[in-house]
């Protein structure tokens, strides 16, 4: 899931002040931001109280099913069009994809209420860790299911680097070195280590990614005409 965290409140207020907004409409997300406790119902109600205590009216709020789903978000904005009309701006408590989807669904100014930080594994309730950067060219088949691209702070495909000490990582000293873990797990599974992993093909991950199952294309540059 996409991990988000609250954004600097003074920056949100400055965004609103700059356009002279006196009232806002709040949008959350029923998926990732709800699980991350950053943009679910409870967080929206907290944000609402905070805005109101600081003299900004909240014309309404909505937590759609998935903020980044264009069709669903358009339905949400249509359903709330009366309240939206009253608002000078919309603040979205969802990831950057959700913010842009809302911005594409209304003519009002839209501002991000969260910062999007990573694609996260849910280790347990409320504990998230980054394990995959979606590089488009997965090497987990060669690395015993441990991603060096993401979990080695330097993203080295071949390691360990010279900073490893007693099996620990140079950069995050409380964690095991990714490459020591990979070697250990491969050995435990009786698997051979690949000699040298070749340089990564970054053309596999050129942005912006786009996939269109309708016309059979898998990836290409350029989004949906925006």
């Amino acid at each position: 899931m996409i991990i988000t965290r609250p954004r600097d409140w003074s920056r949100i207020k400055a965004n609103l002040a700059e356009i002279g907004a006196r009232s806002v409409f709040l949008v959350g997300c029923g998926q990732c931001a709800t699980v991350a406790h950053t943009g679910g119902e409870q967080e929206l109600l907290e944000a609402k109280a905070r805005f109101e205590s600081e003299g900004i009216a909240v014309a309404g709020w909505a937590v759609g099913e998935v903020a980044c789903h264009l069709g669903g978000t358009r339905l949400t904005t249509r359903k709330h069009h009366g309240e939206l009309d009253e608002a000078d701006a919309i603040v979205v408590l969802a990831c950057g994809a959700g913010v842009q989807t809302v911005a594409d669904s209304t003519s009002k100014p839209v501002f991000p209420g969260l910062d999007s930080v990573f694609l996260g594994n849910v280790i347990r309730h409320g504990v998230f860790e980054e394990r995959c950067q979606m590089c488009g060219d997965c090497v987990l088949d060669l690395t015993a299911g441990i991603c060096p691209v993401t979990t080695c702070p330097k993203g080295l495909l071949n390691g360990p680097c010279g900073g490893m000490w007693e099996g620990k990582c140079e950069v995050l000293t409380d964690r095991d070195c990714t490459h020591v873990r990979i070697q250990r797990r491969l050995a435990e599974q009786g698997r051979r280590q690949t000699d040298v992993l070749p340089p990564k093909d970054y053309s596999k991950k050129l942005k912006p990614g786009a996939i269109n199952l309708r016309d059979g294309r898998t990836t290409r540059s350029g989004g949906e005409g925006r």
Partner: protein, 285 residues
């Protein structure tokens, strides 16, 4: 041809030193260091933004060492440049007469003076050594023919004291297979561990140059143990430094003993004087 390569080829016990380019454009201090260390050394490493802190480019500073009449080892880290920049710097280095090359991964920017910087690490040091080997044969990374090939005497770093040993040595051997003809080690304190790594790396065909660090004060020991990744001063040596009435002469004596021990097990020493440049000649005497 590289004098360092020639000396190692002859079976001579080699000495390398280290100079750090300035933070700024005034190279007076660096050249003074070159003049002090140069006569004792076969070659001088010229570091590349060491510790992820800003310094003059190693490429230019290495050329200044050459102009001063000494042989540089151009250091290149994978941290600050992508594969295009690394390759073009390699071509530039060869064209301006730099023959020795040390390829290292590089410290993470988070530990340096620009912690906001993006660490590039487009290639790692094993991959970069493969690129160098290709350039020595006249082709770039994508296999295109170069107009004029390189002829680098390339080296890599190794870490004989880092455990688990197996994990480190496998990587070091791969660097040798990728084209490292010499290996410079992290500072060594345990001669048995050096002997073990030296045996394993020499068997792969690389010359082994052991790192010797001048522990000139308890402060240096603290710095290494607390701030430097991948290195720890063992207690018995730490005690020697702490108890010494004259730490500097104790450090010199310690280094002399280490150099003597290295002569038995490897092909040379890499001296990191940490400012005590003038003591290097004495250590080697």
């Amino acid at each position: 041809m590289s004098k360092l390569a020639e000396a190692l080829g002859r079976g001579e016990f080699v000495v390398t030193g280290e100079v750090s380019p300035p933070l700024g454009t005034d190279v007076t201090a660096m050249l003074a260091s070159v003049a002090t260390l140069g006569p004792s050394c076969h070659a001088l490493n010229v570091t590349d933004n060491q510790g992820a802190t800003l310094h003059m480019a190693s490429l230019a500073a290495a050329r200044l060492v050459l102009d001063a009449g000494h042989e540089p080892i151009f250091q290149q880290t994978c941290r600050d440049r992508n594969r295009l920049a690394l390759q073009s710097d390699l071509l530039a280095a060869w064209a301006i007469g730099l023959e020795n090359l040390l390829v290292v991964t590089g410290d993470d920017p988070r530990g340096g003076d620009h912690p906001e910087a993006k660490g590039v690490f487009d290639l790692d040091s094993t991959q970069l050594l493969e690129v160098v080997s290709g350039m020595n044969e006249g082709r770039d990374m994508i296999g295109r023919e170069l107009t004029g090939k390189t002829g680098f005497f390339a080296g890599a770093a190794a870490f004989p004291e880092a455990e688990p040993y197996e994990a480190q040595i496998v990587r070091a051997k791969r660097k040798v297979a990728a084209g490292a003809r010499f290996v410079q080690t992290q500072a060594v304190f345990d001669m048995d561990k050096l002997a073990r790594a030296s045996r394993d790396l020499r068997a792969e065909g690389a010359s082994v140059i052991a790192g010797i660090l001048l522990l000139k004060s308890p402060r240096v020991v603290d710095f290494i143990n607390n701030k430097l990744a991948g290195l720890m001063v063992p207690t018995h040596i730490e005690q020697r430094v702490r108890k010494a009435t004259d730490p500097v002469s104790e450090a010199i004596e310690l280094a002399r003993e280490q150099v003597a021990a290295c002569r038995e097990v490897c092909d040379g020493v890499h001296i990191m004087p940490l400012g005590l440049d003038s003591a290097v000649a004495e250590i080697l005497r």
